[in-house]
């Protein structure tokens, strides 16, 4: 046995924080947990968008619904994640559906608010002009309002995705937490390399997802990239983070 192999072996027995041998021997387990983490996040955010859109449109069309819809989604946000997963337990049992449902409920707060804010920010004169040009309400929505609301919508999607990735770890409570499972197991057995590796992977996932969504947003909204000359005269229409509206909303991310 070479000295190198012995040293690598030692980092597992010495319980080092950083251990290449751990990565090598447990890569299958790590991949499996990451895949579970990704699909739980993707499923939660996708279902969240599918539910949030009709809710936001309903709240916009019938202002009487806006208060209850916003109030209810905000109320859901105050429920602790551990409690949320536990309260859903009698309904779903120990399943991934339980974690996904909880995460969908949390994502609604951010998504509904941002979709509403985005649609509300469409200038009235733009809407009028489109109507004057004979746009029906569906075409107005699809070709004018939706594209203009896209920056706020994408900002909401980014926040929802990133906080969902963080929250998924709590699903370890019921054994469906993706990387959270490895963190949980690592704490029980005081296995440092496993806890650190899974935590870092979790943060990396959030960063990668955020960058991917940012890239998608740029592709979908080419008009927001103001030419340099114009940008010099006037500030970019999206100063910094397009969701600069969100800090004002009393529902910041409940990470976990």
């Amino acid at each position: 046995m070479s000295i190198g192999a012995a040293a690598r072996q030692n980092c597992l027995t010495a319980n080092d924080w950083i251990c290449g041998e751990y990565l090598r021997t447990r890569s299958e387990e790590l991949t499996e947990a990451t895949v579970q983490h990704v699909w739980i996040t993707v499923a939660s955010v996708l279902i969240g968008v599918l539910v949030a859109f009709p809710l936001a449109l309903l709240a916009r069309a019938r202002p009487g619904f806006a208060g209850p819809v916003l109030g209810l989604t905000t109320l859901l946000y105050t429920i602790p994640s551990l409690a949320m997963f536990s309260l859903l337990l009698p309904v779903f049992g120990l399943s991934a559906a339980l974690v996904v449902t909880g995460l969908v409920l949390y994502s609604l707060t951010i998504l509904v608010r941002n979709i509403l804010a985005g649609l509300a920010a469409v200038p009235a004169e733009v809407r009028e002009a489109a109507r004057g040009m004979g746009y029906g309400s569906w075409r107005l929505f699809r070709e004018v309002e939706l594209p203009l609301a896209l920056p706020a919508l994408m900002a909401g999607l980014r926040i929802a995705t990133v906080s969902t990735i963080a929250l998924t770890t709590v699903g370890a409570l019921v054994g469906k937490g993706g990387l959270g499972n490895l963190i949980d197991e690592g704490v029980q057995t005081t296995f440092k390399a496993q806890v650190l590796t899974a935590s870092v992977l979790c943060v990396l996932l959030a960063v990668v997802a955020d960058l991917l969504l940012l890239g998608a947003q740029r592709l979908l909204t080419p008009w927001t990239r103001v030419p340099k000359a114009a940008a010099g005269r006037k500030r970019s229409p999206l100063p910094g983070f397009p969701g600069s509206r969100s800090p004002r909303i009393p529902a910041a991310g409940e990470g976990a």
């Binding site: 105050t78 409690a83 009698p90 929250l167 409570l173 990470g255």
Partner: protein, 238 residues
């Protein structure tokens, strides 16, 4: 509905409320840990946000920190801290993790509140010869107050909600009732603990709203407004 009835029976049993793992003790731990974390986070975030807001810098920084805050998996931070020597320091790991989590929303809301103050009002105050400290005390802070309170409220509720996670690494708090129920396959106890945790978060939200209504600087204004027939709209849309 059977589970809820069982959970109610669990809650109505007096012996579940007393002792080291009883509801009262867990509630006390929860309030202590959340309160300490919130106080430390406010002591760090608010002066920094006020100062940056006052000198008019760091807007992008505040937003970036806020976004990073959402990406922090508190469970992971807590788990990492529990594998360091800090694990024998009682509730310190939980408090540190919660502080990391609470600073971003506090910082961002306070900063945005300061920056939303009408610049012309600040300029007018300076023109009247107010010092930087006077402008901050008498103009910026009162006008930033509503957003500041919103930030404190959301941070407080999130901290109380998130403190339940401490139980997943064996620390105390209301979450412990839930995880203990999981360990013993006692679903009524799990649901009872979840109800208690959710209830506490809602109570904290409600208490802060009431305190704000009664004691905030807006309270006097609202009382006057109720008496006056038609108040002149305030310049800085506070």
């Amino acid at each position: 509905m059977g589970v809820l009835a069982d959970a109610w029976t669990w809650l109505a049993t007096g012996s579940h409320w007393s002792g080291e793992s009883g509801v009262w003790n867990r509630l006390g731990e929860h309030v202590y840990v959340s309160g300490a974390a919130l106080a430390v986070a406010a002591a760090i975030a608010l002066p920094l946000a006020f100062w940056l807001g006052h000198i008019g810098r760091g807007g992008a920084l505040a937003v970036n920190i806020s976004n990073a805050g959402r990406a922090i998996p508190v469970f992971a931070v807590l788990a990492l801290l529990m594998l360091t020597p800090l694990r024998s320091e009682g509730y310190l790991p939980t408090i540190i993790a919660l502080v990391l989590f609470a600073v971003p929303p506090l910082l961002t809301n306070a900063h945005v509140g300061m920056r939303e103050v009408d610049r012309s009002v600040v300029e007018a105050a300076r023109g009247m010869g107010m010092s930087g400290w006077q402008v901050f005390r008498q103009v910026e802070l009162p006008l930033a107050y509503p957003l500041l309170m919103t930030g404190i409220r959301s941070a407080a509720v999130q901290v109380v909600a998130t403190a339940t996670i401490a139980s997943m690494v064996g620390q105390g708090g209301l979450g412990r009732i839930i995880t203990a129920g999981f360990a013993t396959y006692n679903t009524p106890q799990v649901v009872a603990g979840a109800l208690l945790a959710a209830l506490l978060a809602l109570v904290v939200e409600a208490v802060l709203i009431v305190v704000d209504r009664l004691a905030g600087p807006g309270a006097a204004r609202r009382r006057v407004r109720r008496g006056a027939a038609r108040p002149a709209p305030s310049g800085a849309g506070a």
